[in-house]
């Protein structure tokens, strides 16, 4: 297609108009573009939280002394625990199995007697190991709580408490330790991945399934420009969704936006280029809407959620999974997207990621045009 050829431009415009008409005709597209970002932003902003909350914990005081009572009272006031008192571990065991309690603390008989004077008796903790994360946090918080309680009582207990070395942690970009700051940019990535791969996986497969693909290919438009013009409306929808997400993130959840709109635009465009191409390739390859959605979920949505590094650290995954993440486009989106909110424009970080995403887009785009050409031949 030559850009000087007015007829070709009109044909291209006609394809875009047809695609727009299809978008507006179907309320489900609107639902995906507007409702999905709102729902996801809400869930990642308000429901999914890795922040610490009060863990329901049973406590068994076998010592019944002044100090053990004080420790129980101290833990009851601690915001990390929601304490229930009971007589024995056996009494609490069914609750731990049912999941109504996540841990049982036991203060042993002789606890007070051992403090400061002889070798102290340790506090026992039994956790519900099936909830690995909660168990880990419970253990860490009980350690912390016990240590600060001992320090508070130090004068009376005659325990030397001055530590030799302490650490003084600071968290840059997120001094209030809000997990939202980590999760909300990731949610934007998921929204874009869904619009990109799921929606586009459906559109081309539908043309094949209904047999309208041949008609489309009969247009005098070249295949590359046909593909580009078919994608254009979905690219704009993806950008619109991103804007909704950013608005909710900044005004609804108070996330800072320290980078520039230009950087955000480039990052989202690069990612959309990759996922739109991916979706189209899936649908051109499967030619069936059901199989397309399954592939789109498997290769688009789920990897963006689980392998992109926004929920689970990539470096901690098994090596072979780490290698696989290199072919997940969302992996290259999350670091720049988190940074454009929390840090600012870090071009040395942005540029390589943007280039890789555009390379993904270019690769998928070439494969799609080739796949379509093969259909005709």
């Amino acid at each position: 297609m030559s850009w000087r050829d007015p007829l070709a431009l009109r044909r291209a415009a006609a394809i875009r108009a047809k695609e727009w008409a299809q978008v507006w005709k179907d309320p489900s597209t609107f639902g995906l573009v507007v409702l999905m970002p709102l729902i996801l932003m809400f869930l990642f902003g308000s429901a999914v939280s890795l922040d610490v909350h009060a863990t329901r914990t049973g406590i068994v005081d076998q010592d019944h002394t002044r100090f053990s009572r004080e420790l129980v009272a101290n833990l009851s006031r601690n915001a990390y625990f929601s304490i229930v008192e009971g007589d024995s571990v056996e009494h609490f065991a069914p609750h731990l199995r049912e999941g109504t309690l996540r841990g049982i603390i036991v203060i042993p008989d002789g606890f007070e007697g051992g403090l400061g004077v002889r070798r102290p008796l340790d506090v026992q903790l039994i956790t519900d190991g099936s909830q690995v994360n909660t168990a880990t946090f419970l253990q860490a918080h009980l350690r912390g709580a016990l240590k600060s309680w001992v320090e508070g009582e130090a004068a009376e207990l005659d325990v030397p408490v001055e530590p030799v070395v302490v650490i003084n942690p600071r968290f840059t970009y997120n001094p209030a330790l809000e997990s939202r700051y980590q999760l909300v940019p990731g949610a934007i990535g998921i929204v874009m991945a869904m619009i990109g791969s799921l929606l586009t996986a459906l559109i081309m497969a539908r043309e094949y399934e209904r047999g309208t693909m041949e008609g489309l290919l009969a247009t005098p438009l070249s295949i590359p420009s046909l593909v580009l013009n078919k994608l254009a409306p979905y690219y704009l929808l993806g950008l619109a969704s991103t804007m909704i997400c950013v608005a909710v993130a900044v005004w609804g959840y108070g996330l800072p936006f320290r980078g520039s709109i230009l950087a955000l635009f480039l990052i989202s465009s690069a990612f959309l280029a990759a996922v739109l191409g991916q979706g189209l390739l899936i649908s051109a390859g499967t030619k069936n809407q059901f199989v397309s959605t399954q592939f789109a979920l498997l290769s688009g949505f789920l990897p963006s959620l689980l392998l992109s590094g926004f929920l689970f650290e990539i470096d901690s995954m098994p090596r072979w999974v780490q290698w696989l993440t290199y072919i997940v486009p969302a992996r290259y989106l999350i670091p720049p997207l988190q940074s454009v909110f929390l840090v600012g424009d870090i071009w040395p970080l942005f540029i390589p990621n943007i280039l890789i995403l555009f390379a993904f887009g270019g690769f998928f785009y070439l494969r799609v045009t080739r796949a379509i050409r093969r259909t005709i031949a």
Binding site: L142, V159, P163, Y173, L198, F290, Q294, L306, L307, D315
Partner: protein, 371 residues
């Protein structure tokens, strides 16, 4: 001696099964895709933090920094230490995500400790990855504590400590949580995908009117339509229950029969939700996207991604009618805890209730459509 309705439903179910089973690609997708997901995502999703790269700004030349760095470098969670000349250089490395964070050892650290005072080590971490950052802070804190005991053994605190035992999962293996949990997520995706297109596909291909012209009542049609989705769910989930103990160290303590019962109730609930959406959708695209709008929130509220206890109260209430949250509890319970029959049934009935309610809803919607 089959009664009339049973024969009609069976015929409908037979036709539906054929539609799914005769398409080779559909069948392959239904079996291969869930297995890939189970293995890939089951092994990938861990909230443990390992293989971390940390930066070091060392201005202390004494014994304390030497011992601290040796302990830090030797930690099994830390992969590499990178040295930086200044705090600003460390800040830039964090900014570009070369390291997750770094430790800053002040010039007088060893002297302060030698004077029997408390030395302070600065730790700077990337707040963009706040969850990993907090966990790593915990690791560094423990190393500092151990170092203190090494440096002043005579002052080793005679303080009470916490001795933890983890029931049901003694080594706190993360896969013991993720693999039984993934069954729930993957079964949801596959069952919903099959059920949500059941009626929408007929509508898109124009066979919906023929379906309505059949001598079947709406509920008989729907009952027939539940069969493929239910079979797919039962087949896949049961397969995982068998595969998981074989490919991993996750035990299976509970009753297989109870697990299958729970899976059936769960698949029924998801099928009901899918058919309700399908009965109002005009085409497959609407059905899939509509289904997605429903299952993504259900997944996120189930307690897999983050504990239900950490959610606001009203969302916890919503989570109690989410079949995924019940199935998640049952799955962890049967795999790891050997829960009692009654404890399982307490979660099976809410799932069955959701299934029956949504199937009734789908029938009403379908009946209204066909008038």
């Amino acid at each position: 001696m089959m009664s009339g309705w049973l024969r009609r439903v069976a015929a409908m179910a037979g036709k539906e099964l054929k539609v799914v089973l005769l398409d080779r690609r559909v069948l392959t997708t239904l079996v291969i895709s869930p297995i890939v997901q189970l293995i890939l995502f089951g092994f990938a999703t861990t909230l443990e933090v390992r293989n971390i790269d940390l930066g070091v700004v060392n201005r202390d030349t004494g014994v304390v920094s030497e011992q601290f760095l040796a302990a830090l470098g030797g930690s099994r969670n830390i992969r590499k230490l990178a040295f930086y000349p200044s705090e600003a250089a460390l800040g830039r490395a964090i900014e570009r995500r070369e390291v997750l964070g770094g430790v800053i050892l002040p010039p007088d650290l060893s002297q302060v400790v030698a004077r029997e005072e408390t030395g302070e080590i600065g730790v700077l971490l990337d707040g963009r990855r706040i969850n990993a950052a907090q966990i790593v802070t915990g690791y560094i804190g423990e190393i500092a504590l151990d170092l203190g005991k090494d440096l002043r053994p005579r002052k080793a605190h005679p303080e009470p400590e916490v001795i933890a035992r983890h029931w049901y999962n003694p080594n706190l293996g993360y896969r013991w949580f993720t693999l039984p949990g993934m069954i729930t997520l993957i079964t949801t995706v596959i069952v919903l995908s099959v059920s949500v297109q059941a009626l929408a596909r007929e509508r898109e291909f124009g066979t919906f009117d023929e379906l309505m012209a059949l001598p079947l009542r709406p509920w008989e049609i729907l009952l027939g339509k539940t069969v493929p989705a239910l079979c797919v769910g039962l087949f896949n989930a049961t397969l995982y229950v068998i595969v998981i103990p074989l490919v991993s160290d996750v035990p299976f303590h509970g009753s297989f029969a109870l697990m299958v019962l729970a899976i059936a109730a769960f698949s029924l609930a998801i099928t009901g939700i899918g058919l309700s959406i399908s009965s109002v959708a005009q085409n497959q695209q609407q059905a899939f996207l509509g289904g997605f709008l429903v299952i993504v929130p259900m997944m996120l509220l189930s307690g897999y991604a983050s504990p239900v206890d950490g959610m606001p109260g009203w969302l916890q209430a919503v989570s109690r009618v989410d079949p995924l949250s019940h199935m998640l509890i049952v799955s962890h319970g049967i795999f790891l805890k050997d829960v009692t029959v009654w404890e399982v049934l307490a979660h099976v009935w809410p799932m069955a209730a959701v299934g029956l309610t949504t199937l009734a809803l789908a029938t009403v919607l379908l009946a209204r459509r066909s008038e």
